[in-house]
Symmetry: C2
């Protein structure tokens, strides 16, 4: 997990993700995708309806008007019944999740419901293409007056992503056409041309969505508009200042005080610290990476690598979670990574997967893929219960037992975000270039794609992430020369690679953490990769004050935690001595089948304290057992204490 200096890169390549239907998942991700397809997708739709979202978007119903949000934290209450300016985005992500779910499992009832929502948007759309349920139905007359705070283009972005996914899943163009018209309207309002607004959204999202729209429709103008929004961000005079004055407000009267909050404090190419609202940051950098890839823009790439280093060196939880503070839902000071109060929003870790995957568009490089895998297996999927029905918004690394999964949230951004990520994970596993395929993630699955005019299927057979052995079979209709890039994860202390039984010299073929095998691939070729999955103790940089004197446990890509239900002693009374060996064991009946880690450790005892709170003698310690489970699976059993950073040396 050390950060290597940006390595010299091969001549420019563009690796694009496979579309979701191209990858058939089995094993670990198959089970997670089944939970989303079988449960989450329908739940998202139903909770959007319960929250009243359809009342807001359906022009045939009376407008619900503004309702005051009241936040309570007992799972599902009246608190969710409030109109929200970002509801179009939640519906967009719900449509997107449903689309990926339909890829996995036909579901005519769900499809009919989504079609009905799309019909409402079709009716709602203005003749000029404009489409916002908030500004058309709740606050009419105010469109384009407050991009800083009101999520107007952000909502458009999520509906665009939903439209693209639904088109790929069902072949139905209706929402894609609606959103293309809206994108054209946006393009008529914003851009470098005289007379157009020089603005961009306070919550980034439309940038990456327009790249998707461009790729799906083949229309370059959407790509150019994405690039415009990125290039324009943070330029002087500052758009949010001018916009505030135009609506009669004082620009200084901004709740979050600094434009770092939405990453518009300076032009993006000058940015070098990851700041502000974490999800916004991740979405911006994702869009920047897409544009860097598509335009071969090294000035963006340079800024992205600076930002990547800053995030990975100073502000990333060991779980791949990010954004420690609830105040700005985002970043604070260097090395400020509190565990119990970690905000570490599910959406932010999902956003990091987005960003990392897009950095891989510029070529395979394990520094991006390792972090993508970390965020994926830990800090993001921790946000979804194993059965697909309950959610985390915050993902702390320690809990006294009171942090539990929710049915829903007043700001329901996380449930559909983790839903769409899990259901589309196949598209993050591979990158396809003109003459190469990169395997970024391992997992039991089959991918089908075209390369050099051939139809190829690549099958991974593996128990990953519980076992480091991966068998890859390549089938094609004809022999075909291309480079297969196989990631050698940074966490693996040893790896062995063979093609058709013949061992490869890894040192000779690995570059940027990927083994590059260039050859003429023939039907039936077999690749075998064996990754060492030793149990590792991780130590945090001494400036991370909350982790001093503590260790985290990692095995393969999986970060572990202790939960009260598996441990007799209170978790902070446990100490892991330096010489202790952990034992890994696959438990098929536990948490849908996980590898657990166990060891004999020490526990400080409270027995001889006799009512004292402080004393001059240190605590006595006795023998105890410690059992750890994967962090992503925590709080799927009875509520209780949880701890990632264990006391130890």
């Amino acid at each position: 997990m050390t950060v290597s200096p940006a390595a010299e890169r091969a001549p420019r390549a563009r690796f694009r993700p496979l579309a979701v239907p191209q990858v058939e998942l089995r094993g670990f991700w198959g089970a997670r995708a089944d939970a989303v397809a079988g449960r989450t997708a329908a739940i998202l739709y139903e909770r959007c309806v319960e929250a009243g979202m359809l009342d807001q978007i359906d022009p045939d119903r009376p407008s619900p008007g503004v309702r005051i949000p009241f936040h309570v934290s007992d799972g599902f209450t009246a608190s969710t019944v409030t109109t929200q300016m970002f509801w179009d985005s939640d519906l967009g992500k719900t449509i997107e999740t449903a689309a990926y779910a339909l890829n996995r499992r036909r579901d005519p009832e769900l499809e009919a419901r989504i079609d009905a929502v799309i019909d409402m948007y079709g009716k709602l759309q203005q003749p000029d293409g404009y489409l916002s349920s908030w500004y058309q139905r709740i606050q009419p007359g105010l469109r384009w007056t407050n991009l800083r705070d009101c999520h107007e283009l952000y909502c458009a972005g999520h509906l665009i992503e939903g439209a693209v996914a639904y088109f790929h899943a069902t072949g139905k163009r209706k929402l894609l056409d609606i959103m293309s018209r809206y994108a054209d309207h946006v393009g008529s309002m914003f851009g470098p041309q005289p007379g157009k607004r020089k603005g961009y959204c306070g919550h980034e999202e439309i940038e990456l969505a327009l790249v998707k729209l461009s790729r799906a429709t083949g229309e370059q103008r959407y790509m150019d508009l994405a690039k415009y929004f990125i290039d324009q961000r943070g330029q002087a005079p500052h758009y949010f200042d001018e916009e505030a004055r135009a609506r009669g407000a004082d620009p200084r009267d901004f709740h979050f005080k600094t434009y770092e909050y939405n990453q518009s404090h300076k032009p993006v190419r000058e940015q070098d610290k990851v700041v502000g609202h974490a999800v916004r940051a991740m979405y911006l950098y994702s869009g920047m990476a897409d544009v860097a890839t598509e335009y071969g823009d090294d000035t963006l790439r340079l800024a992205l690598d600076r930002l990547w280093d800053d995030l990975n060196a100073k502000r990333l939880y060991v779980t791949g979670g990010l954004g420690p503070s609830a105040d700005n839902e985002g970043f604070t000071a260097d090395y400020d990574l509190p565990n119990e109060t970690a905000y570490a929003e599910t959406c932010a870790a999902v956003g990091l997967v987005f960003w990392a995957s897009r950095m891989l568009g510029m070529g395979p490089n394990a520094r991006y893929a390792d972090t993508m895998e970390l965020a994926l297996y830990n800090g993001s999927i921790s946000g979804l219960s194993l059965d697909g029905s309950l959610f985390f918004y915050e993902n702390p690394l320690a809990s006294r037992g009171g942090h539990n999964r929710w049915k829903w949230h007043r700001c329901p951004c996380c449930p559909p975000n983790i839903g769409r990520l899990v259901a589309s994970i196949g598209s993050y596993m591979y990158g396809l270039a003109d003459d190469a395929l990169a395997v970024h993630l391992y997992g039991d699955s089959t991918a089908r794609f075209s390369l050099g005019g051939s139809e190829i299927s690549l099958t991974q057979t593996t128990h990953y992430p519980w076992d480091g052995g991966i068998d890859i079979n390549i089938d094609a209709d004809a022999p075909n020369r291309f480079t297969l890039h196989l990631r050698i994860p940074g966490w693996s202390q040893a790896a062995a690679l063979s093609v058709n039984g013949e061992k490869l010299d890894l040192a000779a073929v690995v570059r940027d953490g990927y083994a590059a095998i260039e050859r003429e691939w023939r039907p039936g070729d077999r690749v075998r990769l064996a990754l060492d999955m030793a149990i590792e103790r991780l130590y945090a940089h001494p400036q991370v004050r909350e982790d001093v004197g503590r260790i985290a446990l990692r095995r393969g890509p999986v970060i572990y935690c202790a939960e009260a239900t598996d441990n007799a002693a209170s978790l902070n009374s446990l100490r892991v001595p330096r010489q202790v060996q952990f034992e890994a064991r696959f438990e098929p009946g536990l948490l849908q089948g996980v590898v657990t880690l166990s060891a004999d450790v020490e526990a400080e005892t409270a027995q001889d304290w006799n009512g004292a709170l402080y004393r001059t003698q240190g605590p006595q310690a006795g023998a105890a057992s410690l059992k750890a489970v994967p962090y992503f699976a925590w709080d799927n059993r009875e509520p209780g204490e949880m701890l990632v950073w264990l006391r130890g040396q």
Copy 2:
């Protein structure tokens, strides 16, 4: 600091505090009292005026009406300019502080200002005796409709305390008479008699104030009213329920959800856990202890000892601070003592001094006096800057450098509370019974009192708390038989006691942590007490998760902390090995003269991390120096990190 079971007690005695003017302070407390008399007292008055309090109380000015409070934390801003329902209490405490200051140092200007405030209250008082600037000037017509939330009797209590102190300091009866009339009005409204209200205040305070008023005026009816408020608290039917219904509100619509918040969840004699708002709890228990003393009420004493044990065993910071949570300004779960986010309001530690001192009314017992001294030297006076001009509201035990002293606070309860405590500390040093004097606290000073018909002066000559040697000289106009109780602090590993050079066998004379010397005292008698002040490492109970693997340093009554300005390395990178010896050194030029503690320790280095945030190898450690200063004196120099619980074994 261990909690001993409640020891069997001597036959009932009533030890009452000396009045403030009876004790002349020098040394440590003399300097602190000078800061309050010379600076704080005037500052309190001026900031009350700046906040607009006189506009609220002066009937000759237009009513300022309700103004919206807006909280900002930059020291002194418009945030303080808002009307508040508890302003009478702040003026009461300001008057009280000024009174004690006038004892120390005549100040005709300050006295004239206080006289003018008293004149305003005189004009404001209704013919029936009622007096509340809030309910008379800001919300007329609503008196006695919401005792639960609106501090009505609490305000009366603080004005009564101010009146008693001002009477003792100046001999002027005007405010004492005003408040006696008001107390009579309160007594006509509340009480067990038919037709009177069965209520009590949501914020306890009037109970202990009425005891003071009774002692000052000799009127038993005020004592009885105090007892009534205590006896009635938490009885069914619940007054706050009935009161809410009477004003047309739903009793369940209570912001703090549970009556534990104001300790009215059950009758006081049934309470066994210290719960709710910390200051309220301390004030209630103080009143209970006064009533237990005055009425010899063992049923109250039993409840108080249970509560005392609960506080000392499960919810007291090592500094004597208390109430970890900002949410309820109070108590949470057992052993929940977070350091950086500790609320530990200055007023709560001051309140604990009040409570502990009143437990001593029932007889000398070091279990109360040790905690009183702890809270006094650490968690309470930390709330006042050394020069008497700046304040802490919260007193965390760790800071990253951003927690700094304030000029004022929107809810300005703490500044006058710590002011009045420091300026009246002499009265906490001694307890006087019919045939005994107890010395609870040591400090360079002279006390003058009457006992058995003689006028006695007792002079302590000492550098306490920096040195454990105390010379006590007793002067009287005639020989006089009484018992002198001298506290042997629990923190002292060894003590030696002699009278006129003759050594006493401590084991034979110590009971409940006090040496009892009964003899005929003659003019010129000399007592010498030598207390060991070894530097101690304190460990917290293993259930205090924030303190595991950490130590606190104590020398005598003083708890230490490390500050950035004295230490080169970041404080959490420092580790104190088990065998390390600390050195104590008096530094006369530092922080007005303090003993510092120094040692050679280890510091983990960040030098070889090369940009990594996590790695599989533990941090390297090198040699470093650690210097600690008294916790109470922190943040009196340049802002920076602070840490009480150091990493160590």
